[in-house]
């Protein structure tokens, strides 16, 4: 029996790992985006302690390696009496870590939006929240699409770190199959191909959003020309 046949016989393990990776990635990236939108609203519209607090968290988080952060949640917190299982720790780590990166991307772009927009929105009676949801956030999403896309790929790759805190995702599945049957080449080539396909799917999606942005005159080149 060839090595590829062995891998094919154990495809169920790999597929389950891939499903777990996709679940971790999709749930975390959507939740991280929602969380980051809320954080940016606070940072940009509140003056005072809360805004400063979030800015510090966002800056600090971006100086921490993802695995170190996952270690704090999974191995560190039990010392304080907070015991999380690997999946919960993994989700919390992915969501809050990437929310910090998304928040920084959105905040940076908001700063480049023309001030007149906010004034016009207020003049026609928009409150903070309605203005953010209807005027600011849609523009930020369209304008930052390429950068957000890169960050989404980082988020996808960070799911692999979670195998170290015992989450059974794709790399852990490939590692389990290879160690039992000693087929490291085949197992990891398949894993890498699956990560690659997923990241290309993300890029296609981001390019679609880019087209919408271009049609509405919010393209990437447009942002640069205004600076």
């Amino acid at each position: 029996m060839s090595r590829w046949d062995i891998l094919w016989d154990h495809r169920a393990t790999i597929i389950r790992g891939f499903e777990n990776t996709l679940i971790l990635f999709s749930v975390s990236s959507v939740a991280a985006f929602l969380l980051s939108s809320a954080i940016v609203l606070v940072i940009q519209t509140h003056r005072g302690a809360l805004s400063g607090f979030f800015r510090t968290i966002v800056d600090g988080m971006r100086m921490l390696p993802f695995l170190m952060y996952a270690y704090i949640l999974y191995y560190g917190l039990p010392s304080l009496g907070i015991r999380l299982d690997a999946w919960t720790a993994g989700f919390i780590a992915l969501i809050t870590y990437h929310a910090a990166y998304f928040a920084e991307i959105l905040r940076g772009t908001w700063a480049t939006l023309p001030k007149g927009q906010t004034e016009a929105a207020r003049a026609v009676g928009f409150g903070n929240l309605a203005m953010y949801r209807r005027v600011i956030l849609p523009q930020l999403m369209l304008r930052t699409a390429p950068v957000l896309g890169n960050q989404l790929i980082v988020c996808l790759k960070d799911t692999a770190f979670l195998m170290i805190i015992t989450v059974r995702e794709l790399t852990a599945a490939a590692s389990a199959v290879q160690s039992t049957y000693f087929i490291p080449f085949e197992a990891f080539v398949v894993a890498i191909a699956l990560y690659w396909l997923t990241s290309m799917a993300i890029e296609v999606l981001v390019a679609r959003i880019g087209l919408v942005a271009e049609r509405r005159g919010l393209g990437y080149g447009h942002v640069d020309s205004r600076r």
Binding site: F66, M68, A160, S175, F185, A191, I192
Partner: protein, 213 residues
């Protein structure tokens, strides 16, 4: 944490630092070579580099380091863990650096090559004296940014048993039964290291902007 824990922590930090430093020292010029080869528009080589960069951007370091460490012996290249870790980080960072260099090469004004040719400069001389000193300054902020990403991704090498700044916290906790203090201490060391790079990047960015003004 006692004296032994502190020296273990420093040893872990040193492991992270020297492995990352080698990866940066090789990955930056390798990225430039890849970018130049790609811009030279050699038919097959160009496509291979595009494929390499695309794969490099999409592959998690944890997966790549396991692949290289475990699969290389099958092809007659048994690697020790440290060599496997260094090769992995080089392959990864070179893909990202190639993109930074390529952006600088593409944005480089054409008039300069024409002027250099008119003055009788050969292509290699033009590259060394005119182009490289300028694209070096415009690329450096981006390259330093990639260095921070490399350091943040480097804990992946712990998966093949290297006791770096991340994994050393497990070792210390196994003795003291107190995981939180070493983890916090390691996190602080990472933050100090990375914030130094971020400050450096800001300063280099200002210099690059002055050049393009």
């Amino acid at each position: 944490m006692d004296q032994a824990a502190f020296s273990a922590l420093l040893a872990g930090a040193w492991t992270t630092a020297w492995i990352s430093a080698i990866a940066i020292a090789v990955g930056v010029p390798l990225g430039l070579a890849l970018a130049l080869l790609r811009e030279a528009r050699v038919p097959v080589v160009g496509h291979l580099i595009v494929l390499y960069v695309s794969l490099g951007r999409a592959t998690p370091l944890v997966t790549l380091v396991l692949f290289i460490f475990l699969a290389a012996p099958l092809f007659g290249f048994p690697l020790d863990r440290y060599t496997a870790a260094v090769i992995t980080l080089i392959l990864n960072t070179a893909a990202f650096n190639a993109e930074v260099w390529r952006a600088a090469i593409r944005g480089f004004p054409r008039e300069q090559v024409e002027a250099a040719r008119a003055a009788g400069m050969t292509r290699p001389l033009y590259f060394r004296r005119i182009m490289l000193p300028q694209i070096w300054i415009t690329s450096l902020p981006g390259l330093v940014n990639e260095m921070t990403f490399l350091i943040k991704a480097s804990p992946a090498i712990a998966v093949i048993g290297i006791v770096d700044l991340t994994r050393v916290t497990n070792r210390i906790a196994a003795v003291t039964y107190e995981p939180l203090p070493p983890i916090i201490a390691a996190a602080v060391i990472y933050m100090v290291l990375i914030s130094a790079f971020v400050r450096l990047q800001r300063r280099l960015d200002e210099r690059a902007h002055r050049l393009t003004m």
